[in-house]
Amino acid sequence: GGIITQTPKFLIGQEGQKLTLKCQQNFNHDTMYWYRQDSGKGLRLIYYSITENDLQKGDLSEGYDASREKKSSFSLTVTSAQKNEMAVFLCASSRDWENTLYFGAGTRLSVL
């Protein structure tokens, strides 16, 4: 078994601020993902990475940067937080794109 650890659990930011979310996995999975979850809008893919140092944009990549520093970690940066933005950011990993995704518990973002 393994676990996905996301930090922080809660993040409160100011409008225009750059904010970084971190994700660690110990499954030894090659592929990692960042999804954004908004109420009523399901899960939307922001970035994914199929191996260390690889980055692929998802449908929602504008306004975000990502970094796959090593196989076990994947970071997401909100480049300029939007006022009143509220969402949950979910990190996941899988052996490859056809296999089960394992999700972390999420980082809950609020922007004042």
């Binding site: 996905i4 592929t31 993902y33 009523g40 809008k41 399901g42 899960l43 893919l45 994914y48 998802g58 449908d59 979910l90 996941a92 794109w97 056809e98 089960t100 995704l101 394992y102 999700f103 972390g104 518990a105 999420g106």
Partner: protein, 111 residues
Amino acid sequence: QQQVRQSPQSLTVWEGETAILNCSYEDSTFNYFPWYQQFPGEGPALLISISSVSDKKEDGRFTIFFNKREKKLSLHITDSQPGDSATYFCAAPNYAQGLTFGLGTRVSVFP
């Protein structure tokens, strides 16, 4: 454009009843359909999945029915329990996009 659609948006059943969740898709290249279950404050977790070569997959009280011709699936939760109260997502894997998720169905089971 939404490629995976779910209905209803929310569903309430009494304990012991069968909850039926629906899913439809557009891309005929999808060949594997996992369903994820998400409890409040947690990330989604794989509940059950089906390959497009099957028309039914059962795991305990959870059953997927698949109609490939109509591009539709349904998840049946029989003998629903309060602990089944969660949001259920139908999904399909796509090489270019990872998993494409539907918007989810929120199920509430009352005792």
